[in-house]
C-alpha cells in the first residue's frame, strides 16, 4: 500500500470542515437560483472553480501534476448527469451536501448516502452495470486516446484558455463587485469565532475549498491516483472492502472517511451537531434520491464533485457536459417538486 494514501485523511478532514462551515452544497446552489433567486452558494462554487483552475494550471506547468480530464462519453454524461441532478433534489443534497450533513447527524442524509452506495455498487458491479455500459459506449477521444478538453478541441494551448477565462473572470469580478457588506457586530468578533462558530461567507468558502482541491490534486497524485477531490469512488471502495473482505482502500477512501469526521468536528465545535430524523416518508424519498445519484455518478464516472468541482477547472469536456446536465436535472426536479402548482 502506498503510504501517501494517508494524506487523504488530512485533505478529507479539511474538506469536511470547510463544507460544513460554508454549507457548501451544489443542490442548494443550483436549486436556490430558481426557487429564491439566491446566488450566494453558486458564487462560492464559481470562486472554488476559479481558484482551482489557476492552481491546477500552475501545478501542471511546473510539472508537479499531470492534468487528468475524465473520458468524454456524451451518452453517459448527459443521461447520468441528468439522473444525478434529479436524484440530488430528492436526496436533499449533492454528494458533498449529503456527506457533510451525515457528519452533522442528519439521518435523512445518512439514508441518502445509503442509497448512493447501494445503487453505486449495483451500477459498478451489479445488475445495472449493462445499463451504464450502454451509455458509456458513446466515448469519443482525440487521436491517440487523449481525453477531450475544451483546449484540445479548440486546438488552443491549455494554459492560454485557462488563464484567459480566469483572468477575464477576475477582472469582471473586480468591476462588478458590490460594496463590502457591513458586518455589524461581526467586526469585533475574534478570528477563532469567525472560523469555528460563525458560518463562512461565499468568498471565503470558495477560496478555501478551491485551495483544498489544489492540495488534493497534489496529494493524490503522490499516492498514484492523480485526480483532485472526489466522493463516489471513496464510498464504493470502502463498501467493496467491507463486502468482499479484500483491501480496496484508496486515497479517496481515506478522504471520504475523514470528510465525514471533519464535518462532524466542525458541527460539534459550532454547536450544530444533533441527530435529526425526518418522517419515514422523507427517509424513503432521500434513499431513492441517493439511489438515482449513485447510478448517475457511476454511469458518468463522477459525481458533482468529481465533475463540476474537479473536472471543470481542468476544462474537461465530459465534466462541462455532465455538469450542465446535473444542473438541468436539478432544475427539472425542483420545478416539479416545489414550483409547479398542483391542481
Amino acid at each position: 500500500m502506498n503510504p501517501f494514501i494517508f494524506t487523504g485523511l488530512a485533505v478529507g478532514f479539511a474538506f469536511g470542515f470547510a463544507l460544513q462551515r460554508g454549507r457548501f452544497c451544489m443542490n442548494s446552489a443550483f436549486r436556490d437560483i430558481i426557487l429564491m433567486k439566491d446566488y450566494t452558494l453558486l458564487k462560492a462554487v464559481g470562486v472554488a472553480i476559479l481558484v482551482e483552475m489557476i492552481g491546477f494550471e500552475l501545478l501542471s506547468l511546473t510539472g508537479v501534476i499531470n492534468l487528468n480530464p475524465k473520458p468524454f462519453m456524451w451518452g453517459a454524461n448527459m443521461f447520468g448527469g441528468f439522473i444525478f441532478g434529479i436524484g440530488m433534489v430528492l436526496a436533499g443534497g449533492c454528494a458533498s451536501g449529503i456527506t457533510y450533513r451525515f457528519g452533522e447527524g442528519m439521518v435523512g442524509a445518512m439514508s441518502a448516502v445509503g442509497g448512493f452506495i447501494f445503487a453505486g455498487l449495483m451500477t459498478s458491479m451489479g445488475i445495472l452495470k449493462p445499463v451504464a455500459g450502454f451509455f458509456q459506449n458513446t466515448r469519443i477521444t482525440q487521436p491517440g486516446g487523449v481525453n477531450l478538453t475544451l483546449a484540445n478541441v479548440l486546438h488552443v494551448p491549455h494554459y492560454v484558455l485557462t488563464f484567459s477565462i480566469a483572468g477575464v473572470a477576475l477582472i469582471l469580478w473586480a468591476i462588478f463587485t458590490k460594496k463590502v457588506q457591513a458586518a455589524g457586530k461581526d467586526r469585533d468578533v475574534s478570528l477563532g469565532t469567525k472560523i469555528f462558530k460563525k458560518g463562512w461567507g461565499w468568498t471565503a468558502t470558495g477560496i478555501v475549498i478551491g485551495l483544498i482541491g489544489i492540495l488534493a490534486f497534489y496529494a493524490s497524485s503522490s499516492a498514484g491516483r492523480n485526480y483532485p477531490l472526489g466522493i463516489t469512488g471513496g464510498y464504493l471502495s470502502i463498501m467493496k472492502s467491507l463486502l468482499l473482505g479484500k483491501n480496496f482502500l484508496t486515497w479517496e477512501s481515506m478522504e471520504i472517511i475523514s470528510t465525514i469526521i471533519g464535518a462532524f468536528i466542525a458541527a460539534l465545535i459550532a454547536g450544530e451537531f444533533k441527530l435529526r430524523a425526518p418522517a419515514p416518508r422523507v427517509l424513503i424519498q432521500t434513499f431513492f434520491g441517493g439511489c438515482l445519484m449513485g447510478f448517475g455518478a457511476v454511469c458518468q464516472m463522477g459525481c458533482n464533485i468529481g465533475h463540476i468541482l474537479s473536472g471543470v477547472p481542468q476544462l474537461a469536456l465530459s465534466s462541462i457536459l455532465g455538469g450542465t446536465f446535473i444542473i438541468l436535472g436539478c432544475w427539472l426536479a425542483a420545478y416539479l417538486l416545489f414550483i409547479r402548482v398542483k391542481p
Partner: protein, 41 residues
Amino acid sequence: MLGSKRKRTKEKIVKRSILLVCGIVLLALIPVLYIAGIRIF
C-alpha cells in the same frame, strides 16, 4: 458610523485592486509563456 463607512469603502478598493492585479497578471502570463516556448495542446 462615518468611520465604519470609510473602512468599508477602503476594503472595497483593496478587494478590487487585488482582483484586478491578479486578472491582469494571469492575462499577461499568456504571451510570456508562449514566447518562452510552452505550446502544449
